[in-house]
């Protein structure tokens, strides 16, 4: 066995590197004018989070973070941004027109932001809670994750699945409305096309 200090020093340094990277990248996400850069910075931030998971001795969660968030979900984000070809935001134009930048929404946003800050301060100062390393490698092994997911939390797991299924069906219905109308034959207004 090595000296524990020797073990933890590089880990501490790595923790601060990954942590700082995640925070800076997340801040830059909202500071960009070009949405493609925002998406890329968000992916970088996910990568840093995945590094933090590795430091927590949870390689499975780290890899899933990359596969699901950075790999699958962000590709869809990038798709949408690229296909819409969203132009760089124009501030002056936005200030006049954009509904989210009118007084009312701005005040509402400020209230929400203040509430978030209060919650964060409360959560950080509350103390208690469980901190420190996870007991018994509960998230380290795939078998342990599977067992707790399908035995202890099977109800929550199924509920989440149904929720996602409902969202998916809804999306399909919304997307196929046009197709259904077009297929309506001669009865619809566009039937004679």
């Amino acid at each position: 066995m090595k000296d524990p200090i020797e073990e933890t020093m590089p880990e501490t340094v790595l923790f601060y590197i990954f942590g700082a990277f995640a925070v800076v990248a997340s801040l830059l996400v909202i500071a960009q004018r070009n949405p493609v850069y925002s998406v890329l910075l968000l992916i970088a931030s996910f990568g840093a989070l995945s590094g933090l998971y590795v430091l927590l001795d949870a390689p499975f969660v780290a890899v899933i973070q990359i596969i699901v968030y950075a790999g699958a979900i962000m590709v869809l984000f990038l798709f949408v941004v690229m296909l819409l070809n969203a132009p760089q935001e124009d501030t002056e134009h936005d200030l006049k027109v954009h509904p989210l930048l009118r007084r009312g929404p701005l005040r509402f946003g400020a209230v929400l932001a203040a509430a978030l800050v209060v919650e964060l301060v409360w959560a950080l100062t509350k103390g208690g809670g469980e901190s420190g390393p996870f007991a018994g490698g509960a998230v380290a092994s795939v078998a342990a994750i599977g067992r707790s997911l399908f035995q202890e939390y099977s109800f929550q797991f199924e509920v989440t699945s149904i929720l996602i299924l409902v969202a998916m069906v809804g999306a399909v219905v919304l997307a196929s409305r046009e197709v259904l109308e077009r297929r309506g034959g001669g009865s619809g207004p566009s039937g004679d096309r």
Binding site: I64, I67, G71, F79, M82
Partner: protein, 341 residues
Amino acid sequence: MTPLLIAQIGLTLFVFVMLLSSAAVMVYMERKVAAALQQRIGPSLVGPKGLLQPLADIIKLMFKEELRPAASDWIIFALAPMIAATCAFAAFAVVPFGADTTLFGLVPEGLRLQVADVNVAILVVFAIASMGVYGIVLAGWSSNSKYSLLGGLRSSAQMISYELSYGLALASVLLIANSLSLTDIVNRQAGTWWQVIPRWYVFLQPLGFVIYMIAGIAETNRAPFDFPEAEQELVAGYHTEYSSMRFAMFFMAEYINMVTVAAVATDLYLGGWHGPFLPESLGWIWFLVKVGAILFFYVWMRWTLPRYRYDQLMSFGWKVLLPLAVVNLLVTAAGVLYFGL
């Protein structure tokens, strides 16, 4: 610095250099096999039997002018080939390619012939492959050209569609092997059934192997699934606007991805470095032979089959390959549960 650490660093550099040169070897092999299939001679002038042709190609690429479209997004335009090449190299890091060795007694403990032994190795390969899509999508978008954009979009749609079947084929192997570590999976395939048939998973998972190979071809954007660069429709697809070394990086990434897919297929289905006649310590020869055979198969496919139509590719992926992969997974799960394979 222990001898083991030095050996490990040496091994990492060795793998890096081997991957770099594998791209050159693949280019030569591709051209020679293509020529043979079309009754031509192929490269024959540079060096004996044209063996130095890849070197000449590299030198030509290095001295080409680096072009950049005026209306492109220069940061992402420069970043995209780097992402593609980095992901291609990184994925191979978790692939084991031989049994533990002591390098003729130079290292006290056994040195594992693998850059990084991760216990979720398969998922790492999968994750890095899914990150490789970004290189292509961003190249298409940042070039600010319609051919590039269409190539990039097609490529990412194709990779997302085939990743599902790819992942399900992998999951079936995981069920049988009961491990996510590639080294464990290879070691479970040691030995033979009835002294004749090697215990390779390809015999337990024939359908899974076929699905993996098809999805692997689609993942690496090779013909007959090479829509991202369908030259008759899209000039050169996502790398239309790239030249010189930036183009070379995409080119290299494609070949290295092929090598990785072939190496992972060898580890998962063909028993990795296990084989008859050779002692365990020379298993890497078997590994090279198997990877070479799969790569030859790839090249053979490319020059034999015509390109599919894009909608055929998508409906094949979602309506044929994915249901087959799901059925394969269910049958495998039932087999493991009731017969304890």
